[in-house]
Amino acid sequence: MNVLEVEDLRKHFPIRAGLLRREVGRVRAVDGVSFQIAAGETLALVGESGCGKTTVSRCILRAQRATSGAIRFAPEAGRVVDLASLPKRELRPLRRHMQMIFQDPYSSLNPRMMVGDIIAEPLKVNGVPAAERQARVLELLELVQMPPGARTRFPHAFSGGQRQRIGIARALALNPRLVVADEPVSALDVSVQAQIINLLLDLQDRLGLSMLFVAHDLSVVRHVSDRVAVMYVGRIVEVAPTDALYRTPRHPYTETLLAAVPAPDPARRGRRIAVTGEVADPAHPPPGCAFHPRCPHAVERCRTERPELTEAGAGRWVSCHRAAELDLMGVR
């Protein structure tokens, strides 16, 4: 069963200019994105800055309203709502079922509130009685491996990693059906990042979390996600089970991304393919396949005809005219 089904999601921002602020163009930040997240599954949405991955997550949480498309969400078994079109007042009771883990553990916690109150806040808002709240806070602290004494202290007393644990405890307070994590470990030191990655793996096992993991770091993504969707200039170019994507990428952009990551092994030095050009501007995407100006495999068709995301084997989808004939390099 799917917890989330995103279908043909679009988010366009108008570019206005002149005295009358007329619309002179559009930034197609998200331009026809579709994917599903099954119960208990972690899907990573990866790509470089400006690819639209954060906009997708903001549309799902309705921090932004989608221009078009459907976001079908199952808050409980047997019930499905479309987050893209739902009126605001019907959205509020659904909020408890989808929670967010933020990137910056320093700015996402209220410095004037005690940790116990921060974690209890969503419980309070949703009418959980005080006595139950206490017990739940202790349970949550245990879940994120923090001492019970933490609840009477303020955020500044904790390190970045501990604050991220507090943020995770708050996100899990109401047993959400879906957790959206936007770069949850990218602000942390390596030694602390490893702790949080392990914690997320634990929570996936213990709670069967369904998670949308938005990240740019392909190394982190390989550890925590079941499937990966790669975005480029507002579109998904490839979706595949994690291991398959890394071993046998089918889209040249995925190959490029993987090749660009420096592996922590000096013996692999120089085994890279050259990376050329810059990420395309979503206000002026190239015609045809948006990746064609940087693609070493591009042919005439790629410059004129936009490829659609099509099925390419078990659980694999790719948006490339030449996907079937190319033999691309993965990491192994």
């Binding site: 030191d189 990042q193 490893a194 392990n198 793996l201 390989r222 550890h223 990551v261």
Partner: protein, 333 residues
């Protein structure tokens, strides 16, 4: 191959004084930079890697100050100069900063002004460090932009930094660092703010420039992948000290300090198995003001010796030698 040593740091100590007490940001750091080689300096926040860079350029601001040690430019030659002895605002130091030693920042906008064109700023830097005429400076600026891989440099000269993408901006930042024709370059997290494909391009550019110009490159990063890709030698820092030093292959294959070992195991890898857990280091890096006694790593170290590591600080690594500042490493050797 013996290379010319361009810069020798010896027993460098930097302290920050505050009402809460004295913070030893650097506590006896020694290393050499050699022409044509890259020294990678790696560590987590608060380890002192950026303070090291700022000290060399004499850019440590109050309440911080250098309290000991030497920073020797051209050591062992008649031209040897101790930068610690110079006034940070002196003409001599200004000639070193941006002249002999170029600096590349994490965020290139640190080095660039929003008010002037790219060309103006590079020409200014060229003029400051050479006797060039304005016309020659313009030609040199175009050449520099071409060298760092900026397409159509004659046109880019008139761009403002905000008109450029992050990757182009960092290329301009590198051009600025090269304007004084330095033989030593310090790059402080030069690719941390960049996307991964841009990072790959900038790293390739840095390596090419370094090899061609025989630059002594000091590359500061928190990223073990960048170290593996770029460094010839690696210094691992923890709370103001170098705890491990080795040629890059040796450091990754046979790390001698428990912190280096733990750090390497904690790095997420693009080669990981599905759902692979990482080894972790317990706790977090302490605030430099709350430096543990003895070996600063002992509270997080799984191999700490009962009664010894908490009390006694292990000796520093002699500069130029591979080793670890750890009693255990001593016992093995």
């Amino acid at each position: 191959m013996v290379e010319r040593t361009s810069l020798s740091i010896r027993d460098l100590a930097v302290q920050f004084e505050s009402e809460q007490g004295v913070v030893r940001a650097l506590d006896g750091v020694s290393f050499d930079l050699q022409a044509g080689r890259t020294l990678g300096i790696v560590g987590e926040s608060g380890c002192g890697k950026s303070v090291t860079a700022r000290s060399i350029l004499r850019l440590v601001d109050r309440p911080g100050r250098i309290t000991g040690g030497r920073i020797l430019l051209d050591p062992g030659t008649p031209a040897q100069a101790d930068l610690v002895a110079l006034n940070p605002d002196s003409r001599q130091m200004r000639a070193v900063r941006g002249g002999r030693i170029g600096l590349i920042f994490q965020e290139p906008m640190t080095a660039l002004s929003v008010h002037y064109t790219v060309g103006n700023q590079i020409m200014e830097a060229v003029l400051q460090h050479s006797g060039a005429s304005p016309q020659e400076a313009r030609a040199r600026a175009i050449e520099l932009l071409r060298e760092v891989g900026i397409p159509r440099p004659e046109l880019r000269l008139d761009s403002y930094p905000f008109e450029l993408s992050g990757g182009l901006r960092q290329r301009v930042g590198i051009a600025m660092a090269l304007a004084g024709d330095p033989d030593i370059v310090i790059a402080d997290e030069p690719t941390t703010a960049l996307d991964v494909t841009t990072q790959a391009q900038i790293l390739a550019l840095l390596r090419g420039l370094q090899e061609r110009k025989r630059i002594a490159l000091m590359l500061i990063t928190h990223d073990m992948g960048v170290i593996a890709e770029m460094a010839d030698d690696v210094a691992v820092m923890y709370l103001g000290r170098i705890v491990g030093f080795a040629p890059v292959m040796e450091l990754f294959k046979a790390p001698r300090h428990p912190y280096t070992r733990a750090l390497l195991r904690a790095v997420p890898s693009i080669l990981a198995a599905p759902r692979q857990r990482l080894s972790t280091i317990g706790g977090a890096v302490p605030h430099p003001g709350l430096r543990p006694t003895g070996c600063a790593f002992h509270p997080r170290c799984t191999e700490a010796l009962e009664g010894r590591c908490a009390r006694e600080a292990p000796p520093p690594i002699p500069p130029g030698q591979a080793g670890a500042s750890c009693f255990l490493a001593e016992a093995v050797a």
